[in-house]
């Protein structure tokens, strides 16, 4: 940390002289080792996700019953044709993990889009119009927040039926309140400011006010929340799939792979270890970036 924090201050001081706020933030971000580590991890997963069919040595669904439960290459009996070993259907674990990154990234994107869109909408409307509308919306958010998110997601998935699509919807819905609260807070703060009142006096419509004048000013906390949202969406989707409520077999989803590997815990440690490790790494990547972004974008939290 010594090496991170000291130059960070310098660069900040330097940046303030010559650059705009966004460039400044990016510069700070580049100097933040934690964020850089996060970006590297995420990029690796993105590459895996985008180029799965070229990177993966096998079809993730192809079964080869002769090669059931082969250990990883460095273990006795392992071979280079299955670098991380195979599962109980003789499917290549490495290929499944690579394709799994595609699903996890997709889950992140879809779930976060849902919560970002509805959360922003709810928060903006509540903050802008205030009064009864605000009261109703925020009360609703309180109700959603009164459940542990995984429990609410389980009930929603039970209601919609277990599938990857529904798991994504459930996870998206569950985190709407987080975004709504952030946006509402920022809107209330900005709304009171002179420039908004001025724009209003000049006859700017509500929609214009919200989208052109107010929302851009709460981008920073939203970006941080979105990044962290990716992390929790991936984690929660894996948990749902692990419980049999998300992606269904034979989909190469990490949580579902873990659930399958659980039955093999005695015979194939690799079928349990690697999918879990992937979940951890992907979630860690987004958490690292989110942390770094918070330091870089939110001057109040900076030391």
């Amino acid at each position: 940390m010594t090496t991170t924090a000291a130059p960070l201050k310098n660069s900040a001081a330097e940046a303030e002289k010559s650059y705009g706020p966004l460039t400044e933030a990016l510069l700070r971000l580049r100097k933040n080792k934690i964020a850089v580590a996060g970006i590297i991890i995420i990029s690796l997963f993105l590459v895996m996700a985008l180029f799965s069919q070229w990177i993966a040595p096998h079809d993730p669904l192809a079964q080869s019953l002769y090669d059931k439960l082969k250990p990883p290459v460095w273990d006795e009996g392992g071979s280079w044709s299955y670098p991380l070993g195979t599962d109980d259907f003789g499917r290549d674990l490495l290929s499944r993990i690579i394709y799994g990154s595609r699903i996890s990234m997709l889950v992140g994107i879809v779930a976060v889009s849902i919560s970002l869109f509805f959360g922003t909408l709810a928060g903006a409307v509540a903050g802008f119009y205030g009064g009864k509308i605000d009261n109703i919306i925020m009360r609703l958010m309180d109700i959603l927040l009164a459940f542990p998110s995984i429990l609410l997601a389980i009930v929603i998935v039970a209601f919609l039926g277990p599938s990857l699509r529904n798991a994504m919807i459930a996870i998206g819905v569950v985190s709407i309140p987080r975004y709504a609260r952030i946006v509402r807070g920022s809107v209330l703060e900005e709304y009171a400011k002179d420039y908004v009142q001025a724009a209003r006096a000049l006859g700017a419509g509500d929609v214009r006010l919200i989208f052109i004048h107010i929302l851009p000013n709460c981008l920073a906390p939203l970006i941080v929340q979105t990044t962290l949202g990716f992390a929790s969406a991936i984690l929660e989707a894996a948990a749902l799939s692990f419980l049999g409520l998300g992606a269904q077999p034979p989909t190469p989803e990490w949580g579902a792979m873990l659930a399958n590997g659980r039955a093999l815990i005695l015979r194939a440690w690799w079928a349990v270890t690697f999918p879990g490790l992937m979940i951890l790494l992907a979630v860690l990547g987004f958490n690292l970036l989110g942390d770094g972004l918070r330091d870089a974008l939110d001057p109040r939290l900076r030391e």
Binding site: M1, T2, A5, I34, R139, L140, D142, I143, A146, F147, P148, S149, I150, L151, I154, V155, I156, A158, F159, G161, A231, L235, A238, A239, F242, L243, G255, L258, R262, I265, L266, W269, V272, T273, P275, G276, L277, I279, L280, V283, L284, N287, L288, D291, E303
Partner: protein, 334 residues
Amino acid sequence: MSKFILHRFLSLIPTLLGISILVFFMIHMIPGDPAEMMLGERASEQSLKELREDLGLDKPLYVQYGLFMARLFRGDLGRAYKTNEKITTEIAERFPATIELSIAAIIIATIFGMAAGIISATKQYSIFDYTSMVFSLIGVSMPIFWLGLVLMIIFSLNLGWLPLSGRLSYHINLETVTRIYLLDSILSQNWPAFKDALWHLIMPAFTLSTIPMAIIARITRSSMLEVLRQDYIRTAKAKGLGPVVVYLKHGLKNALIPVITVIGLQFGILMGGAILTETIFAWPGIGKWILDAVYARDFNAVQGGTMLVATTFVLINMLVDILYAWVNPRIKVS
């Protein structure tokens, strides 16, 4: 103060009412007929009809909600479909297991999390600070259902140090009063049972504590750092007080406020984590029970269970708010 508490308490009512409506209607719209599920392949129209009548499922939904609320006010959550046992009894039999697990987890998380946070803050930018913060980031990102399995492989399968699952070995007899086994064994001075229960508790509690521990470590560190920069700490140091006295007495006391808030909030997260932890370690608690009830479409059980968890969560939040206001009187006004 009492006005604040009363106000805070009254504001719970609409929230709880909303929770009950949300829970009730969402659960009753879950596809799948509980009667069909219970009777399986052998169901006949006759037995299905009788069962639906017995479960009260033949009435319109709003009537069912009315009955549900009427019962709720009498403290009656109905009966579980599968066992025909009162939901309150079912919960009373399982909730203590979850409480034991959660409290153990929060204690582990608080002790280790705060210790790491305090040391990190006092030795900012040291190797310890660096490692503990990296570990806390990993902790926040941990899929605990995986961690549980990995711990099982290591500590039960390979090393054989800890029992695999359950709360008590079969050869141990324990008089249960509170159903919190550690407490029960202390009450009856049954030390072999105490040791056995403790041994069973370690792995699940540790697994469940991972995420809160990491969060507490981070909050303690940053709140400690902030306090340490304050003038009175410098004054205390200047007065020549030893570092331990300064950090623990003056620093920690003031850094505690945000930490307490966070610990309170972690209880909600624990309830969610308990579902996963209990499933893995065959811990007979409320989380596993709710999950089973969802699978079995046991509407009364899911309703009762989620209402309980949500209410507990809301109540703990309220307590934290009150505690916070009590420690920090400026809050009260807003």
